[in-house]
Symmetry: C2
Subunit: 222 residues, 2 copies
Amino acid sequence: MGIRTRRTERRTDALSKERIVEAAIEILDNDGESALTFRALAARLTTGSGAIYWHVADKNELLAAAIEDVITRATTDMVGGTEPRETIRAIALGVFDAIDLHPWVGSQLSREPLQPAMLQIFEGIGGRLQALGVPERAQFDSWSALVNYILGVAGQNAANARHTRETDRSAFLSTVAARWAQLDPAKYPFLRQVATPMREHDDREQFLAGIDLILAGIGTVR
Amino acid sequence: MGIRTRRTERRTDALSKERIVEAAIEILDNDGESALTFRALAARLTTGSGAIYWHVADKNELLAAAIEDVITRATTDMVGGTEPRETIRAIALGVFDAIDLHPWVGSQLSREPLQPAMLQIFEGIGGRLQALGVPERAQFDSWSALVNYILGVAGQNAANARHTRETDRSAFLSTVAARWAQLDPAKYPFLRQVATPMREHDDREQFLAGIDLILAGIGTVR
DNA sequence: ACCTGAACACCGTTCAAGT
DNA sequence: ACCTGAACACCGTTCAAGT
């Protein structure tokens, strides 16, 4: 389709940063973080490993671009309600769902949280705190509590996904729950008791419950 | 000192898991995570790299043992007050300070949060929530919010420390703050405003403020 | 039982050489 | 301008050989 100009047009299979990033995301999604090597990437793109360096400076830049891609897509899809509390929940859930889909983003994010794409998310949360009427002196701490919590869950989910690759997710949680259920009741009464909800809980709802708790705490500041 | 029995006594420079872990921690503390290689470790212990494998299964076990060591030491030093809210703060601060001293623990923890040594910390927090009178149905979510927040901060601190190695800490934060201060005011009003507290804040107090906010939120559950 | 150190299979990255 | 693929310096891990 369209007119083929001689110079700007490329063969459709030509290498480009976008195609490289796309392929990297596929590898990360399908085979996990350890599977992303320049050799594997080159093989998938049927090119030499050195060719990738023409489009991408190094592995850090590649990962940054992959995160940028996923996070940008996630924030674009987001329907922001008008009520600040709801919007904060929606933003947080957007991050959660993106990381649920691409767990490697979670571990990269807790390694390099200041990704450019995260700025929109950080701003979105901070802005809504202002709209919520949080006193100015409490805004920074409130914002940081929410952001750290979100990044914490992100890292946890990524860790779970790493274990989950071998077996499956519910099997992994069952194993942890079973281990906790067998802890010494004298030393670990709470963890024993929490083993059941641990096995049965819905990650997404638990995540939201945490957001709500923090928002409730923020609400107590006058 | 003491009688030298022929078989059980070893030359003081003999290899042992403890000495290996100790040396690993020194390398991690002084030169960062990327500096810990079996070759560097062997050189520091003036032995062959293969010798380490006689005492330690692989690098994962080595890292797990190093974390165990640091976390156990941190929880041992902890003076637990009698008031539940204070005790939760003390436990959280204990983790924070340990990670502040050994940032690599933070990144390992967000990769493998279910370290055995963490069980005491998890239990300590959960137990105090019960003592605080948190309704049973809210205990799991409350506990998970606190734990995820703590692990989130741990990961962040580790990430900051990675950047800080090259320059110094305040210089790094200043750079971030300066970058945020120059963001488009129309798109990022909050981040611009928050750039100043970001540069001036005390990490430890900010961390505690987050704990307090979550505890305040937990307190609203009746 | 414990240690040595060469060897193996991998990495990320570079670069002379091609088109 | 863009790509190839061998080469380099490094990993974690193994293992025959030593003591």
